[in-house]
């Protein structure tokens, strides 16, 4: 008996892509703008998000999902902002995927939300492969990480919409070479929007909040488009 070959032609990540597309539809229906944050561990995502939530709450209804392998500590910390926050503990999985987001959104958030922030697991590698249905993907890197980070992790920088340089209050102490980082970002992803902030001092947050508002408004403007793809 001879074996036969059956042609298939199917994207292996199809399941996640389909789940992400469903999330995208859901976000559109709920008029919810969704931004995800990725970075290496320790770049300052949580501190950044903490300040973002506090500032945003003044004018919008905001919420956050945060992914970690273990502990609820980030979620607890982010709740100080007063916004609803849900923790996703992945166990051993090194990234969030669309199905995890789907599950986390069951009966949550408790009320209507304008902006949802999703803090991914600290990892510059794996999250690049998993579409979460977000409108905007933000990659954070701190002045302490070295200016060649974008060259070392091209895929994640290629899939990002915005790069945020964090901890700028430490620039002098680490002899941060701003021009080198901007050059490296530009060589990996020309035209990438880059912001610089300090979650500690609040520097740069005006520009960040304005960017979010602008992108959220643009996303709303697409709500009635026939083909809803926003990414």
């Amino acid at each position: 008996m001879n074996p036969r070959i059956v042609e298939v032609r199917k994207n292996i990540m199809k399941k996640n892509d389909l789940a992400a597309a469903a999330l995208r539809d859901r976000f559109r229906a709920k008029r919810m703008f969704v931004a995800s944050l990725v970075s290496s561990p320790g770049a300052g995502k949580t501190a950044f998000l903490e300040r973002t939530l506090m500032l945003a709450r003044a004018e919008r209804r905001v919420a956050a999902l945060v992914g970690d392998l273990a502990t609820e500590q980030d979620a607890e910390r982010l709740r100080h902002s007063g916004a609803p926050v849900r923790q996703i503990t992945t166990g051993t999985v090194c990234h969030l995927d669309a199905e995890m987001i789907e599950r986390a959104l069951e009966n949550w958030p408790p009320d209507e939300v304008d902006w949802l922030f999703v803090e991914n697991v600290g990892n510059l590698v794996c999250p690049a492969s998993y579409d979460l249905g977000e409108h905007m993907r933000v990659v954070l890197l701190s002045v302490t990480e070295g200016e060649d980070k974008p060259l070392k992790y091209p895929t994640i920088f290629n899939t990002a919409d915005v790069a945020i340089i964090t901890k700028i209050d430490l620039s002098a102490a680490v002899e941060f070479d701003r021009q080198a980082l901007l050059r490296n970002l530009g060589s990996v992803r020309p035209g990438l929007e880059v912001l610089e902030v300090s979650a500690k001092t609040g520097d740069g947050f005006d520009r960040w909040m304005a960017l979010v508002a602008q992108r959220a408004a643009a996303a709303r403007a697409h709500v009635h488009a026939p083909d809803g793809a926003l990414a």
């Binding site: 036969r4 059956v6 292996i12 990540m13 590698v125």
Partner: protein, 89 residues
């Protein structure tokens, strides 16, 4: 690394095809992995055996074709048709 997650997605993707193929044993599976896909071929091959274990495709061989872009595609499944049921011995 997350090749185990990807391998599990691959196993799911193959198992989804099985109902249309009738009674078969899967001998091998062909995939294309792009250099920019963020997936290591070696790690995926290892993870595939783990992910396939205990599923209808356990024991199938994974054949990986390298590609240049971002693709991560299942391209073909090689199967043996199981002999028709012969009735009670």
């Amino acid at each position: 690394m997350h090749e185990l997650s990807v391998a599990m997605s691959l196993v799911d993707a193959i198992c989804e095809e099985l109902p249309q193929l009738g009674a078969v044993t899967v001998r091998s599976v062909r995939i294309r992995v792009g250099a920019l896909s963020g997936v290591s071929m070696e790690a995926l091959m290892f993870a595939f055996d783990v992910a396939a274990d205990g599923t209808p495709i356990a024991g199938a061989r994974l054949i990986v074709e390298a590609a240049s872009g971002r693709e991560l595609d299942l391209t073909a499944v090689e199967v043996w048709d199981e002999p028709a049921h012969r009735g009670s011995p």
